[in-house]
């Protein structure tokens, strides 16, 4: 069959676009090389909803950042995504650099950011007692927020799937070309897909696909960011997202609570060549620890880290989102160079890209589109009575599997059984947080494996951390008796 539209990449941009397109009578598919949504650039970032004062005035980044930020409340309420506007602070620690805050403030106003305020030293320390003594002024943005990036991505994809979008995982686009009838043929490791419109939402690989069809080439540099995640004990160390003043390389090392109550520190900004090189380095982590300590005082990063990780920003040389149909390749629509503030912008990116397709294809709106999603139930938000009711109906909610995060079997079963359900340990982890706590899955991984085995009929040897060859166990021990 020929699809109306195929989206390459089930990251946050691709999934937002898929959901927007699912409002229309179009046959839409998403092809994703990973085994799950949210397996590339979208899975490792600061988990921040930016206010929008950073991006250059008049840029697409600025426009979509502010729009995306404004869309977030309704989207998160519709899709049951954990989100909180905790407010962000850009903190100045050198008297002579205070002028930079005013510049940011003015840019923010020009970008349309609401509620910005310059704070003096006293106001600032009253708001955040754990700031470094050197902190002398700040820009306060009350619209800044924190979000679960996994659930944002997963929820949009799930909702798109419920509204008819097909998802093909472990399907890597290799080449694409347009035939004489204007149909795009995408060759993948799983055969050929045909479509009238193709959306290039391939993250760090978006230059590869763009350059296959466009005259004017783009160039994406994977810009690595290392992060440390701290124990929940440290989750209220600061209540706002604390940024240093920005530099050429980005917004700098932030210190922020996460929506789930940890503390996140990061990112570094290291330009690399390998688009898969998400390895952290000792130098990166050390740099992070040194920088994190500049704006807050006595942060025990070393002792309280529960995990560190690295993500890759899809940095285009022009540092601007590349969104639009490529003139010489009718029907090929870029959604490239989506780096920070890409997560924040994603709802607006999805809408903009979908509008381009809608403008070209002129489809009808579906009458039966359902934009709501119920997330995985969080039993800890229930009263004891409600929780007992639930356990009576579904005993699996009474069985804790991940003891660090108090995740029950009921939640894990839901994660596996829902649309686009989890098929790996990481899939379960991103949907439920099982394995994301302080023991980092040491306790629960054998138990989650048991559930995956039972639910999906996956042999133990076939259960993976995150698809591909990431198998957890390799074979039976030699002591096992043979069945006869």
């Amino acid at each position: 069959m020929t699809y109306d539209c195929i989206i390459i990449g089930a990251g946050v941009s691709g999934s937002a676009t898929a959901r927007e397109l699912s409002k229309y009578s179009l046959n839409v598919a998403v092809i994703e090389k990973g085994e799950d949504v949210c397996s590339g650039t979208s899975k490792a970032n600061s988990a921040i909803v930016h206010a929008g004062f950073d991006a250059a005035e008049g840029s697409l980044m600025a426009k979509l950042n502010v729009e995306g930020n404004e869309m977030m409340d309704e989207l998160c309420s519709d899709l049951d995504i954990p989100f909180k506007r905790n407010g962000s602070l850009v903190v100045c620690i050198h008297e002579e650099e205070k002028g930079g805050l005013k510049e940011l403030y003015d840019r923010g106003i020009a970008n349309g950011v609401k509620g910005l305020k310059l704070l003096d030293k006293e106001e600032l320390h009253e708001m955040e007692p754990n700031l470094a003594d050197e902190a002398c002024a700040a820009l306060y943005a009350p619209t800044g927020g924190i979000i679960c990036p996994f659930i944002l991505n997963i929820a949009m994809a799930e909702n798109a799937a419920v509204n008819g979008v097909d998802f093909f995982f472990n399907t890597e686009a290799e080449t694409l070309k347009r035939d004489d009838d204007g149909i795009w043929h995408i060759r993948t490791n799983n055969g050929e897909y045909k479509t009238r419109y193709v959306i290039n939402a391939a993250g760090v690989y978006s230059d590869k696909f763009h350059n296959m069809v466009a005259d004017k080439k783009i160039h994406i540099t994977p810009r690595r960011g290392d992060y440390c995640l701290l124990d929940k004990e440290m989750g209220s160390f600061v209540s706002h997202t604390i940024f240093p003043q920005p530099t050429k390389l980005g917004k700098g090392v932030l210190v922020s609570p996460t929506i789930h109550g940890n503390l996140i520190v990061g990112p570094t900004a290291i330009d690399i060549e390998d688009k898969e090189a998400t390895a952290t380095t000792a130098a990166g982590i050390n740099d992070l620890i040194a920088k994190a300590g500049m704006h807050v005082k006595n942060l025990p990063v070393g002792r309280k880290v529960i995990t560190s990780f690295a993500g890759l920003r899809a940095h285009e040389d022009a540092h601007e989102f590349v969104i639009g149909e490529v003139k010489e390749a009718p029907g090929f629509i870029d959604c490239a160079g989506i780096e920070s503030p890409g997560l924040t912008s994603s709802p607006a990116i999805g809408r903009m890209v979908a509008d381009i397709v809608v403008g070209l294809a002129k489809p009808e709106k579906k009458a039966d589109w359902n934009g709501k999603r119920k997330g995985i139930l969080n039993p800890s938000e229930l009263s004891v009575e409600e929780r007992n009711e639930l356990i009576k109906k579904e005993p699996a909610y009474g069985q804790i599997i991940c003891r660090c995060e108090s995740i029950s079997e009921g939640e894990i079963l839901d994660a596996i059984r829902r649309p686009l359900g989890a098929r790996s340990l990481d899939g379960v982890k991103r949907r439920t947080r099982a394995g994301m706590g302080r023991c980092q899955a040491g306790f629960c991984s054998p138990r989650v494996m048991e559930i995956l085995n039972r639910e999906l009929g996956l042999a133990y040897e076939d259960i993976t951390k995150s698809g591909g060859k990431s198998n957890i166990v390799l074979e039976r021990t030699k002591g096992e008796a043979q069945a006869i």
Binding site: S308, I391, I472
Partner: protein, 421 residues
Amino acid sequence: MKNYDIVIVGGGPAGLAAAVAAKKAGNDSILILERDKELGGILNQCIHNGFGLHTFKEELTGPEYAYRFMEQVFDLNIEYKLNTMVMDISPEKVVTTMNREDGMVEYQAKAVILAMGCRERPRGALNIPGYRPAGIFSAGTAQRLVNIEGYMPGREVVILGSGDIGLIMARRMTLEGAKVKVVAELMPYSGGLKRNIVQCLDDFGIPLKLSHTVVDIEGKERVSAVTIAEVGPDMKPIPGTEERYTCDTLLLSCGLIPENELSKKAGVEMNMITSGPVVNESLETNVPGIFACGNVLHVHDLVDYVSEEAARAGENAAKYAAGQTAATSDKVIKLVATEGARYTVPSTIDVSRMEDLLTVRFRVGAVFKDSYVSVYFDDKQIMHNKKRIMAPGEMEQIILQKKKLEEAGDVQTITIKIEDK
């Protein structure tokens, strides 16, 4: 709300021994809460032998050792609940639990015994750089996969850390046909028992590289290689000493952390060195009626000592529940570990409440050869015992006599230190 005299959190070796002792001390209202599907705790996956030499004078496997106590629990009709997670303990000793059958239930206890054990330090807490592929396991998780689930986590193995579980797993994986290429240990000494180094590494020709750490992990999906390097006195890797090992598995045995999240909720004060509760001579925490024992109190080397300690906690909890605990006096002696000794359990002694003989356990912070364990009552040295060898991996103990302390009169501080002469 249901009422019990004594609620024991954890049905591993500590919880079992505490329950048996409390019952034998005359208490009939005891409940053990266990989150796993069987009693026995971590011993169930420790299928190697060497347990119980002190207690039973024979070499048992972990499950056998656990069963010796489980039998008593069954024979004494002590109540227990399996598959039951303790969600909260309040300072008023209300214990909130959850399981499939009963949902959330609250128990009001007169006394609570903390016996939750410990967990392993994960890769994340070690800040090891590199990729995050499959194939990195804490040694205990690998042990569970092999011994309980019956699956091999890998074929070619590098182990970081020489804690006892890592050493045991080096042998176990070798016996199952895997190739254990090297054990790297950050410190200049092993964190495990000497006998485990001999029986699990030396006997199989597995090299132990002291003062080494992992500096890179390769492999995007599954581990493909691990690079280790020597560290200097500052614990930083020395450039040029890197050695790369191709492997599919990295096991971590880099320390155990007492699992005290619940204790903290109950308002229990923690010791920064042990990461366990601060306890007095009765193994009672700062919250009256809340006792602690086993690896949740401090990480032990031998389970025999866990059982012994837990039995004391059980007896004291029984006394407390019966209202028979002697009133506290204002004469509390502080125990101080210094100069080579890292900590003591207990931290304080109330002489009026202490038994005739009191075992004080401690660990040393480095390897000491032909050195002396010295004990001072204030400035007065009262013990000076030569030990041929002391190492951080092995627990040390001294036994204090109540009589001696009474004779000594007004002692403020008991100090334990390691002296070279």
